[in-house]
Subunit: 267 residues, 2 copies
């Protein structure tokens, strides 16, 4: 099978709360990604609105197929590339920290709501999701979605791997001083599960936070296929199923688990 | 509470199959560790006999309180230091890849049998253990035991953390080219669970393997408190409960888990 060429857009969307500017950045990135042969473009968490939008998150939130979402779908279709993006999702009275994957024709493929909310801001702003594993097929690859803090829980990524996820797309908003998560924990998650992880972060100061950059495509063999620095950056790298197969032969963690011993302990 | 000063003995025991030589190395290391104020000394996996003993493992195996074990207990008592050591344990017809912790008075505190056997040699030589979490109290700290490949499974370490383990003692026999496990995965395990991990490896060539060294005391805050190189080495560092408490406040992973979402996936 052909590798899934994956583009990661690391950057602030521009001015927080400026959905218009975010869509402009996305349009440009989708064009660059498609020109380099990428089949999917991954943005940061809360890409469309910015992360540090405080109490305005409720009014900025829109439904899955709201006006900004429809424009993302048109960008995807225009450039013939799938896009996984973060945004605040409205569903009735509830607001979720969400990621949506649209296909290269603009059709919705998967919708995920962050299950592990991080810190007081997110807990005040969002309702937590209640479904751990959300997947879709893309060019014959099984891709999954998680958001930021989710990936720090080994259970969440293991659940994906056991359900067949091969490439995990993770819009994120990792702040300093948590660089360890991107440099060390994310490569471990990929290695211990034999999957690729596309971890696309924000960067630079925004509100009370300073985002760490360091976006990465981490491979199932412990290598990092592409790694960003601290500033705005655009990465393209391949998630290769041949690397995945070789890694799972070399370190057959999924086969060597002993779930009957874990059950009583993991609550 | 006082930090648990922990010594890690990295090295081949000397000639494989020479239990006598291993006990000599241990005696010397226990003296050095005690002189530096350590309260526990951790050795590598299969320390007493060597790892690459092939089919002789069955005859080298002895019960928990066999002759070599009794001599370890006397070494511990002589130097007033706890010792966690790896050896092949006989129990009737079965042979386990085991770790035993004896206290500073030489009394047995905990016995663990490796639950995740690695590769064809271990699967042929050993019966897998059937108890994931084995713990003991040591100077007011809750310590646990795992062996090598076990620690690569996030479930095994999570089980310990949820059961209250604060310092995980891990005799290991990590070969090249799996250095990633020590450099990256073990620090992640400590970080994602808010615990200290004392990972004591073999080093250098033995039989068909080349052991990687790189023993470490990994901290709950993502730092590595002490790290060995590739050759024979002796490390001493503190597992400090104050660091553990601060890390768990900073990254409250255990509190932020969502076990109700994992259950259906983790089998």
């Amino acid at each position: 099978m052909t590798p899934l060429r994956t583009a990661l857009l690391q950057g602030p969307a521009g001015v927080p709360e400026s959905v218009e500017q975010s869509l402009g950045v996305l349009e440009e990135a989708a064009g660059r990604a498609a020109a380099r042969g990428a089949r999917v473009l991954v943005t940061s968490e809360m890409f469309l609105t910015g992360y540090a939008v405080g109490e305005r998150v409720a009014e900025l939130a829109e439904t899955r197929r709201g006006p900004a979402g429809e424009r993302v779908a048109r960008i995807a279709a225009r450039h013939g590339i799938a896009i996984a993006y973060g945004y605040p999702e409205r569903d009735g009275q509830a607001v979720f920290n969400a990621a949506r994957l649209v296909g290269p024709d603009g059709a919705g493929l998967a919708d995920y709501r962050k299950t592990h909310l991080f810190g007081p801001y997110e807990r005040a702003a969002f309702t937590p999701g209640d479904t751990q594993v959300v997947q879709a097929g893309l060019d014959g690859h099984r891709v999954g979605l998680l958001i930021c803090y989710d990936v720090e829980f080994p259970e969440a990524v293991r659940a994906h791997a056991l359900a067949g996820t091969e490439v995990l797309l993770v819009p994120t908003a990792l702040m300093r001083p948590y660089e360890f998560v991107s440099t060390t924990l994310v490569p471990t998650r990929a290695y211990e599960n034999g999957i690729h992880i596309a971890y696309a972060n924000r960067c630079g100061p925004e509100g009370e936070w300073d985002f760490a950059g360091l976006s990465a495509l981490a491979g199932p063999d412990g290598t990092v296929r592409a790694r960003a620095g601290a500033g705005a950056e655009f990465l393209v790298a391949d998630a290769d199923p041949a690397v995945l197969r070789a890694a799972r032969e070399e370190t057959p963690y999924l086969a060597d688990r002993r779930p009957e011993l874990y059950r009583t302990h993991l609550g």
